[in-house]
Amino acid sequence: GHAPEPDQLFRPPSPPPPQRAPGWTHSGRVDPRHGVQLTFALRQRGAQRLAQIVDAVSDPRSPRYGQYLSLEQVRDLVQPSPTTLLTVLKWLQGHGVENCQSVTTRDFVECHMPASTAERLLPGAEFHRFVKGQQSTVRSPRPYTVPDELAQHLDFVSGLHRFPPERRGSSSTRDTKDVGSGQPPRGVA
């Protein structure tokens, strides 16, 4: 099969500084009947044209500056080809995946299915649960593949490897972080 994301790191985010809550801990493989939600990023068309349009509508020197597109116009530009849509939907249906919905731009398909189906659909994937405090998330620590014939129709599948994002930002305890970083404490002083 084809691995769309061979370079995607599988790594639960490192635990935050010691005074905070612990990081994600593995709590075992999920029941095969457990429901998972996967998002399929379908290959779009018109990326080059889209880049040209963005340049034109965002550059104050361009005569098209500020002439933005509607969502429907964006859809007409980027929506996947009928072949892509058919190939992906046929593949999903072939595995009994029927509970799916798309978005206006038709370039994402979101589907619900049991973990066992997802593991058959994406050979290599294995769904495990990770917990952090009250939060629980299901991810695959192993890389997934898709059939070769889908390589040109699918960018990636979401819901397997990347953990919920860590906030890049505010802290009211920078003084403690500073101790470890060798920087002078601020704020509290």
């Binding site: 370079d7 104050p60 969502l71 206006t104 731009t105 919920p164 601020r186």
Partner: protein, 372 residues
């Protein structure tokens, strides 16, 4: 004299008058939250009661898209809402709450899907989220970048916090270090916001770099044309640069702009908290100002600003010196090793990879961005 950053301190520093508040009806702004980060309307009301007496403002978020849990308010969610509504005062505000309700959902992608599915959206979105570029697949980053292009084509302005780890640091195979860029801050189709501190922390003075301010050069996305001249000038004229092996000098350089990011007051769970810091504080501050400039543009029948960078680099590089306060002092963090000794890049005249072009002088920026 002041005991920390509040809306009135920000508005004073960035020269926003009592009249600099939203007036048009069809304008709006938004911030996105992930995980179980919720804000409380009561915290916002209390914040505005404590700190908002000098300007017309709203004390309610108008729309929450997604699920708002009933638990305790999160510091970050409170910060975003309170400060986007302080500079973008009196502008209708939305919160996108993407908690990843389903265990296998990726909350950030869920937010992107919402953008791709809603025909009517606020013109300005601020996000304080990021991952190390090297932890993400190329397929994922390229596709997310394309989603930002879709947003840009629709006229949306998307602002990302540049991160709080300076240039970052990564040990590469072989044991050497390199800087560690962050994504989506490194996407060429978003506006990335760095951080500054007051030179004198207790006075409204000039700003210096906040040493945590994220910045650097992407290892994935090539440098876009709109910033080539500005970044080239920095690379040629910086008195001291880290060794070339630490960064990709031909990559997308960030941040684009900055604002104060240190010692904020935030009300969360009804308690006013001091000393809140990070580029997730500076990002909604800039977002609110962009929304306010949109307000004036919409009021004159002009389109909103959309993807800001081409206009920003053009105006800042083209001699609109009163639009931006150039931040020229201080350096940010990086690898603690014998070569760079914890120092990443340093700020200098014009654009630099710590504070971008600098911080906004609102009236000058408004004038420059209202011009046809």
């Amino acid at each position: 004299f002041h005991l920390g950053v509040t809306p009135s301190i920000l508005r004073k520093r960035y020269n926003m008058t009592a009249g600099d508040v939203g007036v048009v009806a069809n304008n709006s702004q938004a911030c996105a939250q992930f995980l179980e980060q919720y804000f409380h309307q009561a915290d916002l009301a209390e914040f505005m009661q404590l700190f908002g007496s000098s300007f017309a403002h709203r004390s309610q978020v108008d729309r929450v898209v997604g699920h708002q849990g009933r638990g305790k308010a999160g510091l970050e969610a409170s910060l975003d809402v309170e400060y986007i509504m302080s500079t973008g005062a009196n502008i209708s505000t939305w919160v996108f709450s993407n908690s990843g309700r389903h265990e296998s959902q990726e909350p950030f992608l869920a937010w992107l899907l919402l953008l791709s599915n809603m025909s009517s959206l606020p013109w300005v979105h601020t996000v304080s989220y990021g991952d190390d570029e090297d932890s993400l697949s190329l397929a994922y980053m390229e596709r997310v970048n394309l989603e930002f292009m879709k947003a840009a084509a629709r006229g949306l302005t998307i602002l990302f916090a540049s991160g709080d780890d300076g240039a970052g640091c990564r040990r590469v195979p072989g044991g050497n270090h390199t800087f560690r860029p962050s994504f989506p801050a490194s996407s060429p189709y978003v506006t990335t916001v760095g951080g500054t501190s007051f030179k004198n922390p207790f006075l409204v003075t000039a700003e210096v770099t906040d040493y945590i301010s994220g910045g650097g050069f992407s290892n994935v996305f090539p440098m876009p044309q709109y910033q080539a001249a500005a970044v080239g000038r920095f690379l040629r004229s910086a008195p001291k640069l880290p060794p070339g092996s630490y960064f990709n000098r031909s990559g997308r350089a960030y941040p684009d702009v900055a604002a104060l990011s240190d010692n904020y007051w935030v009300v969360t769970n009804r308690v006013p908290l001091p000393w809140v810091s990070g580029t997730s504080a500076s990002t909604p501050v800039v977002g609110g100002m962009v929304a306010l400039i949109n307000d004036r543009r919409l009021g004159r029948g002009l389109p909103p600003l959309g993807f800001l960078n081409p206009a920003l680099y053009r105006l800042a590089g083209g001699g609109h010196s009163d639009a931006i306060y150039d931040v020229t002092h201080g350096c940010h963090l990086s690898c603690l090793d014998g070569t760079v000794q914890g120092q990443g890049f340093c700020a200098g005249p014009a654009w630099d990879p710590v504070t971008g072009w600098g911080t906004p002088n609102f009236p000058g920026l408004l004038r420059a961005l209202l011009a046809p």
